[in-house]
Symmetry: C2
Subunit: 223 residues, 2 copies
């Protein structure tokens, strides 16, 4: 369960200060499927990065299962991210020197502190690659992939460690209708069948309205 209290995020650029998130208070229960919508620049990516422990807030409290994140050291945060959190970035952040298979396998190798996969892990990765429809591209590197193909690799990578919570930042922005629906179906099934908590920032309002719970961010405030 993720708990946020009095959260602010400010950027300062010398003299100018920009407050992007203003007094955010919310909680996300285990197993929930939540969408976060809002105009461009309203703070969705910023909020998701803070919730996903990829960035720190300027002020306020973030708790995971009752534990205040600010009381954790870097190793503890890193372990929490690697084992429990899956993050799908708006712009993927794939490793350009690694193939599709290697990019997806990496979090698994980090978690197991090994530089190769067991047979069953290999099967799990191949299964994921099939689910995102990229069997024919598994040996390509990111710059040999289309935009939507890169996006799907980023999605698979976030799922490979079977995280407890997934943060998805615009996971379908570059996908065609068919792929969009199959990714939504994939996420919905992970939520229903495996109880994975899912938080999706999206401009797809039609989809956002189908999620059981929706937060609207306007100018840094949650409505």
């Amino acid at each position: 369960i993720v708990h946020v209290n009095g959260l602010y995020k400010k950027y300062s650029d010398g003299e100018k200060e920009l407050t992007v998130l203003k007094d955010i208070n919310l909680c996300i229960n285990k197993g929930e499927l939540v969408s976060i919508t809002g105009p461009s620049g309203s703070g969705k990516s910023t909020l998701l990065h803070i919730l996903g422990i990829l960035d720190s807030s300027t002020k306020g409290v973030l708790k995971y299962d009752g534990v205040d994140i600010s009381n954790m050291n870097e190793n503890e945060k890193s372990a929490l991210r690697n084992r429990k959190i899956g993050f799908i970035f708006q712009f993927f952040h794939l490793f350009s020197e690694l193939t599709v298979i290697e990019n997806i396998s990496l979090p698994l190798m980090i978690k197991n502190k090994r530089n190769r996969l067991l047979n069953k892990e290999h099967k799990a990765v191949e299964q994921l690659i099939q689910e995102i429809g990229l069997e024919k591209r598994s040996l390509h590197r990111p710059n040999q992939l289309s935009g939507g193909e890169q996006q799907r690799v980023a999605i698979a990578r976030a799922l490979v460690n079977q995280p407890e919570i997934i943060f998805a930042d615009e996971p379908t922005g570059n996908l065609d209708k068919e792929n969009r629906e199959s990714i939504y179906k994939l996420l919905l099934n992970l939520n229903k069948d495996k109880g994975i908590t899912i938080v999706i920032a999206t401009h797809d309002e039609a989809f956002a309205k189908t999620t059981p719970r929706m937060f609207k961010l306007v100018d840094g405030y949650v409505m």
Copy 2:
């Protein structure tokens, strides 16, 4: 007027060869507004890069106003790109060390072979920045912008030289509804009022159906 005849694009990776575009034949008339749709991986970005003279085809002919592009040297191609073509990339390709203003101004400085803008040019850039709603972010650098803000900078940059033809690769993939509509309106007006030829690759089928002409790419073929 852009003319394509028997166009193929193949990638080879050692032994494997992948044919992404297959025998493309089409022409785009001056002042047309055309959309190119198709599933993820169907070849839209690849086709747009070739049409925009950013990449070469494996086989086939590309003509601009009757001139075969393969007969041009690099300087001639570069001049044609800079003066007549505006390209909006699916993933923006902004310069990370430059501010919003500098990123947008760059093509103008290249065209005029000057490292600063005249007063009237400065005004034109500021006008564009207003049209895309980024006055409050003009001194930010790309990593200080949201996804949709970066996309809008990429759009403005493609327009600053008042090109004769604009290639837009998924120009609204990261935009909210309001920004999406204002970008479409901006492009429509450039087409109607200034006669600029516009070619848009998009997953937004609702929008694609509103363009006077639509090509559907399926597995590298134009339908």
